[in-house]
């Protein structure tokens, strides 16, 4: 029976993804038509912008890495049915914690400092996630509102750091803090724009999350609590505890993304250090139907779209907000597909 169901549900998931993608393309085409822009040329440029050269592919990968990390993190919180919208703030606080470690004065071994920043970022993200979790479990604040509020706090905190204690010597600017010394940059292969260690971390996090979520008892417990927290109490499980654990893990993953943004991409702390990858990751996870197997591929699709759309204003003189519009379409399509899936489940 179960085999029958899973055999049926795989093509259905594929169908959902196909439907979602078609909707995104159709919506975008419609908007391009309204904007009086050449539709095919625009799509061609998005593809070219994402895959036409090694450098561009590497740029896509540099978006893929934080997207995958955040999406993996979100899988944990979604397992217990928590909407960890605070993931943006968790990336930011991970970046702040990493930066704090990197700014420790005195001559140090770069590897040691980078390792320290690595763990500090996870701790920073986890603590920020935990805060949203505690607001929920202790204060009864819904995680969406708590998370959103904490995102603003984190953003404000970064601005304060950039214009206050961590400002560049002489002048504070929106372009961020002073660049890190070169030995604190994560090494990137020549001609590439993504740190190889970042790719390795992303792949490891995917594998580890698969093991934990699919194969371990901890993953089973998260699933059980997400499905029926009332019943979970009869199995000696305290739902509140697992809410905190799940959101802290999500925060740690997001914090790691923050670490890679600081040490691998921008080499400094900038106001928009999270680049909206947290919100994008929410979409990736939803569109993937909360399955880790599909997650890397959908993250790649979104990363390519994100990078490819940058090409549009340069080549076709289209407004740069178009990529935002496409992402908006993705949100709507994802919600639409999820709505259909929900309805099907209920019937």
């Amino acid at each position: 029976m179960k085999n029958k169901i899973s055999a049926l549900s795989i093509p259905r998931t594929t169908l959902d993804i196909l439907l979602g993608t078609t909707l995104v393309v159709a919506f975008t085409a419609l908007i391009l038509l309204i904007a009086d822009a050449p539709v095919l040329a625009a799509f061609k440029n998005i593809c070219l912008g994402a895959f036409s050269s090694t450098s561009k592919v590497s740029q896509v990968l540099s978006v893929w890495v934080p997207l995958v990390l955040c999406s993996c993190g979100l899988l944990y919180s979604f397992r217990v049915h928590l909407w960890n919208i605070g993931i943006e703030g968790q990336i930011a606080m991970g970046a702040v914690a990493a930066m704090a470690a990197l700014r420790i004065p005195g001559p140090h071994n770069p590897t040691f400092i980078l390792t320290l920043a690595f763990f500090a970022s996870m701790l920073g993200g986890a603590l920020w996630g935990l805060l949203a979790g505690l607001l929920k479990t202790r204060g009864g604040v819904h995680e969406i509102f708590g998370g959103l509020g904490l995102n603003f706090v984190a953003q404000g905190f970064i601005l304060w750091l950039i214009f206050g204690p961590w400002k560049r010597p002489g002048i504070a600017s929106m372009s961020g803090t002073e660049l890190l010394s070169f030995d604190l940059w994560l090494s990137t292969p020549t001609g590439w724009r993504v740190a190889s260690i970042g790719l390795i971390i992303a792949v490891l996090v995917i594998l580890l999350s698969w093991l934990i979520l699919v194969k371990s008892r901890f993953g089973l417990k998260l699933t059980a609590i997400g499905q029926n927290p009332r019943a979970a109490r009869l199995y000696s499980l305290m739902p509140e505890r697992y809410y905190l654990k799940a959101i802290a893990i999500a925060g740690a993953c997001a914090g790691l993304a923050g670490f890679l943004q600081v040490t691998g991409v921008y080499h400094r702390l900038i106001p928009s250090i999270s680049s909206g990858y947290g919100y994008l990751a929410l979409l990736v996870v939803m569109l993937a139907g909360y399955r880790i197997i599909l997650l890397p591929f959908l993250a790649l699709f979104f990363a390519a779209l994100n990078v490819g759309a940058i090409q549009l204003p340069i080549v076709l003189q289209l407004d740069s907000s178009l990529s935002g519009v496409i992402q908006g379409c993705c949100v709507l399509s994802a919600l639409f597909v999820l709505g259909i899936r929900q309805k099907r489940k209920q019937s």
Partner: protein, 488 residues
């Protein structure tokens, strides 16, 4: 308006809820409809109010066959229902609630009607007050006035005295009599025999989906109780009472919220080895009692002790109770005890105390297979719990029980099981588990309680009104205590 049910039947899938109901309610009378939980009262009323369709039969209103397929059709035929929990809109004012469903839109006219109707029945309602600041009794009054204003000819009252004070009851009863005298047909659905006796001129008793008795005033309680709960069954091979030991569960002056009226002034000691049946109508306090003992609810006042240890007054009480080898099986299996989309083996994995990192283990697979065989569960280890039938879900829960439980709390353990499965469950509980285990169970079936327990606690409106050994009591006195009537 006369209402006549002719050969009404209702089936939910393969389950028959109502069989061939014939019932006539005459215009201008108050007709009582009584029966134990699950007797079919609500289903019959839902059919009359258009919330559920009938499988067979006809409904005649004033001698004409009437289609009541939607609540709207029922309302336009002049059928209105006053629900146990007021179905009103709490953020709106009294006047706004009163105006709902009324054809007129003129506020001043509505205000006048409300005022006239209120004074006629002696209610004092401020039209501008918000409904959420009113008592349940006052909210019922608004609803009643609204229904009268909507020209309701058939008024159905579902347990109208639940949650209202005796003083409010004294206002409500004369009002109902007055309404009946004015020609409105009133159907009173109730558990409380004394109320039915004081209000109704005729009573119909439902039992297991059929009409078991019709009577006109004056009523004989013994007759009605007999019709409600069935005659005393012959008790074959009832197990001898078990030897009792030290105190296992103790409640001292416990006051708690939950269900309709929560639990009040609860003082009780249960000993090891006792099998205690908790009788009472639905929502009389048994569920709250069991949840308090399981640590799933905390008392507002008083103390709950398990094996001499006081339970914490927080969410950790549940784990503490489990540490003290207490197990609880709720009646709503899928809502409260099982995970619909997890497999049987996942359930065993979750129950497993050994904290290994991995889920699947070879010996666990064997353990699950063995449990499926032993407990005769019709399903495989990979089936999800939601796919199992109610009976098999119950077997799964029994299979998941800690074998060395010292206190077993069961809410309606044979719910949805056929007789044979029910016997199998009891055989397992009484004979396979340790003789020192204390078993507390609630059941809507009085026969089950009388047959399987050594001691009985009867709950009525949140209080334990009878505590005695099975050998010292009778079917009649338990049934009377359940309905709040004075034992005869």
């Amino acid at each position: 308006m006369d209402v006549e049910f002719r050969h009404i039947s209702k089936k939910f899938g393969s389950v028959t809820a109502l069989t061939d109901i014939n019932l006539t309610v005459r215009s201008g009378t108050i007709h009582g409809l009584i029966g134990e939980n699950g007797a079919g009262k609500s289903t019959l009323m839902k059919i009359l109010t258009g919330y559920q369709s009938k499988s067979d039969g006809t409904i005649l209103i004033d001698g004409r066959e009437t289609q009541l397929n939607t609540p709207k059709e029922a309302a336009s035929s002049g059928i209105g229902m006053l629900y146990q929990e007021p179905m009103d809109f709490t953020p709106l004012t009294v006047l706004e609630n009163f105006s709902l469903g009324n054809p007129g839109r003129d506020r001043s006219a509505l205000r006048l009607s409300l005022k006239t109707l209120s004074s006629r029945f002696g209610f004092s309602l401020d039209p501008n007050r918000c409904v959420d600041s009113l008592t349940v009794g006052e909210r019922q009054q608004i609803e009643l006035l609204r229904l009268i204003h909507c020209k309701t000819g058939v008024l159905i009252l579902d347990e109208p005295t639940t949650g209202i004070s005796p003083a409010q009851k004294e206002t409500l009863f004369p009002t109902l009599k007055q309404l009946a005298a004015e020609g409105i047909t009133i159907l009173l659905v109730s558990h409380k025999l004394e109320e039915v006796a004081s209000l109704c001129s005729e009573v119909t008793v439902l039992r297991q989906g059929s009409v078991s008795h019709n009577a006109s005033a004056p009523f004989h309680f013994a007759e009605l109780l007999d019709a409600m709960f069935g005659s005393i069954p012959e008790q074959k091979d009832k197990d001898a009472p078990r030897a009792t030991g030290a105190v296992s569960l103790q409640m001292e002056n416990v006051v708690a919220t939950g269900e309709r009226l929560g639990l009040r002034h609860c003082n009780i000691n249960c000993a090891e080895g006792e099998v205690i049946g908790l009788a009472g109508l639905d929502g009389a306090g048994q569920s709250t009692f069991l949840r308090l003992a399981a640590g799933l609810a905390n008392p507002n006042r008083g103390r709950v002790k398990l094996f001499g240890e006081e339970l914490l007054h927080n969410s950790h009480a549940c784990r503490q109770a489990q540490r003290l080898q207490t197990s609880f099986i709720p009646a709503n299996r899928l809502e409260e005890a099982l995970f619909a989309d997890l497999s049987l083996s996942d359930h065993f994995s979750l129950r497993d105390k050994q904290d290994s990192f991995w889920q699947a283990k070879k010996n666990r697979r064997e353990q699950v297979k063995k449990a499926i065989r032993t407990f005769n569960i019709k399903g495989e280890a990979c089936n999800v719990a939601g796919e199992l039938s109610g009976g098999n879900q119950q077997r799964l829960l029994l299979a998941l029980l800690e074998p060395d439980s010292r206190l077993l709390l069961l809410e309606n353990p044979t719910r949805g099981l056929d007789i044979r499965s029910g016997q199998w469950v009891w055989n397992h509980l009484r004979r396979k588990l340790s003789q020192k285990t204390t078993i507390l169970f609630s059941s809507p079936e009085l026969d089950e309680i009388l047959h399987f327990s050594d001691r009985i606690l009867v709950f009525h409106d949140g209080e334990i009104v009878l505590d005695c050994s099975v050998s010292e009591t009778s079917h009649g006195s338990i049934a009377a205590a359940m309905t709040g009537a004075t034992p005869q």
